[in-house]
């Protein structure tokens, strides 16, 4: 369910600011710098987000034809996360803790030693699991200055907005009554009055 098929669930964002000159070249350059990169078990990060081809999360070859559809920029936001099963981690930690204690005179591990052990185990266990992958469609109508993003999660929306702003060097703001009215070019007097209205009492 998303941009290309099924019912659509999305949040709109407005792009503030003008498109730069040669925007197609500049955007392709920006996208190229923030294409999704696979997680590496050796890295000390739990999650990574980046752009992929819309509706094809394994396709990271973001060519012009795959990104631009006339006046639309279509992208996928891919977010991979290491998810080590809790039971696996708990069992591995218990065993490692016993081994460490057996080799030392201590009765129990200090908090800092536990943290260190956790980090070592996480790095080891990452090699045994594959990252959980999620991908979300995004369609930017350059003419309207509207981005439709197909996720209702505020956290994912925040990740997308951050990546979008870094990629395109344009500000993104979520739709709402005030910005929607501004975008629709409602009368300036009405726009000025909106924030001063009081809720209706029935």
């Amino acid at each position: 369910m998303g941009l290309y098929r099924g019912s659509m669930s999305y949040t709109r964002f407005f792009v503030r600011g003008d498109l730069p000159k040669n925007h197609q070249e500049r955007f392709m350059e920006g996208i190229g710098l923030r294409v999704f990169r696979e997680l590496d078990p050796a890295e000390e990060i739990d999650q990574r987000a980046g752009w992929c081809v819309c509706d094809t999360p394994f396709d990271l070859d973001l060519t012009y034809d795959k990104v631009f559809a006339n006046n639309y920029v279509n992208l996928g936001l891919r977010v991979d996360t290491w998810r080590i099963p809790r039971s696996l981690f708990k069992a591995a930690f218990g065993q490692a803790e016993r081994e460490v204690l057996a080799q030392s005179a201590e009765q129990k591990l200090s908090r800092s030693r536990k943290k260190e052990l956790e980090a070592v185990l996480k790095a080891r266990l990452r090699r045994k699991v594959i990252p959980a992958m999620r991908a979300f469609d995004l369609s930017w109508s350059l003419e309207e200055g509207v981005v439709r993003f197909f996720s209702g999660s505020p956290k994912v929306q925040e990740q997308m907005a951050e990546l979008f702003e870094k990629t395109f060097d344009l500000e993104l703001v979520a739709d709402g009554v005030y910005l929607g009215a501004e975008h629709a070019a409602v009368d300036a007097d009405i726009l000025a009055r909106l924030p001063k209205l009081s809720p209706l009492e029935l």
Binding site: L3, Y4, R5, S7, M8, S9, Y10, T11, R12, A69, N70, Y72, N74, S139, S141, E144, R148, G152, A174, D175, G176, V177, Y178, L179, G180, A181, A184, V186, D187, D189, I190, R193, L194, P195, K196, L197, P199, L200, L202
Partner: protein, 167 residues
């Protein structure tokens, strides 16, 4: 006033917009004017959520806005926060769920699509979604103009009060 304050201070109007749509749809038997002389059929169906600062009423019914529980919630001060709408223009019908908090649309079903799942299909889908967004925006524009007018307090509010009490 900072932009963030203007955004936050106007947020409650999305719930009042849903209330006004409900009133208009009820009063005009579904035939709602989006712009001068341009009408759509607009009905509330299946899901309606009304909230206030402390509680929520979630109604599931074929026509939830006609239920006594919906009007009782209005009389208690609750306002619609989420509603499923069916909008029909000519032979084309859209259904969508409008969430007031974020003015976002979910579960948007489009009129029957003609093209395949390819580039042409994308343009057709995006055109259909832009059409329904435009209708919602026009309705919102009408509501905001009325909400800021003198006739809101003088004429509309008394009618809304009578409608809620009678419902």
């Amino acid at each position: 006033m900072e932009l963030i304050d203007r955004i936050e201070n106007s947020r409650f109007l999305a719930r009042e917009f849903l209330l006004w749509l409900w009133y208009e749809s009820d009063r005009l038997e579904g035939r709602v004017e989006v712009e001068d002389g341009d009408f759509v059929e607009l009905w509330f169906e299946e899901t309606l959520v009304l909230t206030d600062a402390i509680a929520e009423v979630r109604l599931k019914a074929p026509m939830p806005t006609t239920t006594p529980e919906a009007f009782e919630a209005l009389r208690q001060g609750k306002r619609p926060a989420l509603a499923k709408l069916r909008i029909t223009r000519g032979t084309q019908a859209w259904t969508l769920t409008y969430k007031a908090e974020t003015t976002s649309l979910s579960g948007v079903t489009l009129p029957a699509e003609l093209r395949e799942d390819d580039d042409e299909g994308f343009y057709e889908r995006v055109n259909l979604v832009e059409q329904v967004e435009a209708m919602v925006a026009q309705l919102m524009g009408r509501f905001l103009a009325l909400r800021c007018s003198r006739s809101w307090g003088r004429s509309v509010v008394p009618k809304l009060q009578a409608w809620v009490q009678a419902g």
